[in-house]
């Protein structure tokens, strides 16, 4: 492994391609978006170059504030639920035999390969009145008659957690696999029940991993715009849905761009926090 910094064009060559891709597909579009966000909208038309901050001023309205806080709250709830379920699951998973672990990981990866559209329609069918699980509950005598569970906040939450779960497991997996399995046993010999050992030793020992993973899932959930439309009611629409709506249906590119810039900045800030938490874990 070469430790010194690369010198000259030849040694920098391997990073030229990714650097070029980053510039072409991220830096340029993002700059354009920032530019558009300060342009002025032409009613009935498109937009023309200008330098106005009216689009950003609209962030101060109650409607925007409501959507923003709903989006952040939803993403936080999804992150908390996904990590809360995935952490104990992964803790069990890393203790299974190699073969069983591989089968589980392949299964989780296959869920990751599903598109958001398929997940959304699958859940809306599963929660529907005509073909959903309530029919099963009726057959079992748990419910009087089938009812529709979607669209609703619960349906949206279930769909988002389902989508985030495999991703969460894969992010947690390396840290949990590296954890000394004797930590929990040591806690047990020192008087902790298995459950107590889990919460007083395993969870705190991996606190930074948990924080970093939660932030990553949060950002992941913040960007979803299809599931809220498929599984939620209009009041459950997130900022991402609003951006799509403004850009495509209202033809208000400058406002959509301003919101997108804002969303990217919030996401970047959170990823930065996640990296910071990860680094502190390494030095500890």
């Amino acid at each position: 492994m070469i430790r010194r910094a690369p010198r000259g064009l030849a040694e920098h060559a391997p990073i030229l391609f990714p650097a070029l891709m980053l510039v072409v597909f991220f830096v340029i579009p993002f700059s354009l978006m920032i530019a558009v966000s300060v342009f002025r909208r032409v009613p009935g038309g498109f937009y023309e170059p200008d330098l106005v901050f009216a689009n950003y001023e609209r962030f101060l309205t109650a409607f925007f504030g409501g959507v923003m806080s709903f989006s952040l709250g939803l993403a936080a709830l999804v992150a908390a639920l996904a990590v809360g379920i995935a952490f104990p699951f992964t803790y069990r998973l890393v203790r299974l035999s190699r073969g069983a672990q591989i089968r589980w990981l392949v299964f989780l990866l296959s869920i990751l390969s599903l598109s958001e559209v398929i997940i959304g329609f699958a859940w809306s069918t599963l929660l529907s009145r005509t073909a959903g699980i309530t029919n099963l509950f009726v057959a079992l005598g748990l419910m009087a008659e089938p009812q529709s569970l979607s669209p609703s906040f619960g349906a949206l939450l279930a769909g988002l957690v389902y989508q985030a779960f495999p991703y969460t497991v894969l992010v947690l997996y390396p840290a949990l696999a590296r954890l000394d399995p004797y930590l929990e046993e040591a806690a047990r010999t020192l008087g902790s029940s298995p459950l107590r050992a889990f919460f007083t030793v395993v969870v705190p020992a991996l606190r930074n991993t948990i924080v970093a993973t939660t932030i990553m899932v949060f950002v992941f959930a913040l960007g979803s715009y299809l599931l809220p439309q498929l599984l939620g009611r209009p009041q459950h629409w997130t900022l991402s849905v609003l951006i799509t709506d403004q850009a495509i249906y209202q033809s208000n590119m400058p406002f959509a761009a301003a919101m997108a810039v804002f969303l990217v900045l919030v996401s970047l800030a959170l990823v930065g926090l996640a990296l910071l938490a990860g680094r502190r874990e390494e030095t500890a």
Binding site: L183, E185, A186, A187, P194, T200
Partner: protein, 353 residues
Amino acid sequence: MSALVLDGLTKRYGPVTAVHGASLRIPHGQFVCLLGPSGCGKTTLLRMIAGLEDPSGGRLLIDGRDITTAPAHTREFGMVFQSLALFPHLTAGENIAYPLRIRGAAKAEQRKRADELLELVRLPGVADRPVSKLSGGQRQRVAIARALALSPKLFLLDEPLSALDAKLREAMQIELKQLQQRLGITTIVVTHDQREAMTMADLVVVMSQGRIHQAAPPMEVYRQPADAFVADFIGMTNLLEGEITAHGAVAVPGGRLHLPNLPPSGPVLLSVRPEDVIVHPAGLDGPNRLDGTLSFMRDLGASVEFRIDVAGREIVALTRPQDRPPVAPGGALSVEFPPAACVVLPPMAERPQ
């Protein structure tokens, strides 16, 4: 009165039996070493005692109380793990105070006990340091202190010194033994290092392939091994296969030995320690001597090692430098096996393999 009784403890993993009916009686305050090659079941046995593995059969009693199925956290035994298993998110002091915190002790009391224990393991003043900032030997001491925090009835250690370098290991062996004597705590250590077992233990339990071969004080294990495995595993030995020919006489390759306490007939195995074998110049007659040729000789400083070919078998002998016979490799010698030094063992076929 017996503090800890293992009554036929057995552990099976599917078709594999890791521990076959281990029975043992450990009196209060004893220092016990479970000794054996890797994979002999010694760690599994320790983990069953700790409550981390459920026995497939047998019983475990402490002071007459059956604890075979008691969960680990109710047993109140202190255990030091091979990896030490110190909690990485806590300081040295918080690690030691962890069991007190679990029991809801006040902060001040936790701190006081942690300081006391650090004093006990001769590591004062590191209570506030994170465990990642401690050296290997210091972590070792913190792990020992943590296991002792609740003044447990039983102190269990799984290969506790294997991660230390040779010099530190030696020092820690002495310290561990002194600590055990001072506290008078019943202690069980798992080790594969026979020197460690011989120097620390009151009772050495020699295991192989899931079975206890012998449980006895170190010198007895060395002087009176129960079978060929123990004789061979503890120190160096010469094993001679023989056949009893007449009353008190056994034929071995290269001659005949006269020994007391022989069984009336059949095959036997003799174990003779190298330091008990006496080397004589060839041609001098005497009892219990076999003729051979010197194949190899080396000076070990305090002693001289001879490797002598007797009827195709290699016999190892250790003598003091001043008793060295004037023979060069290839020369003829005779070796004497004093009757008192010959341990009669069951023949090889009976050795469980």
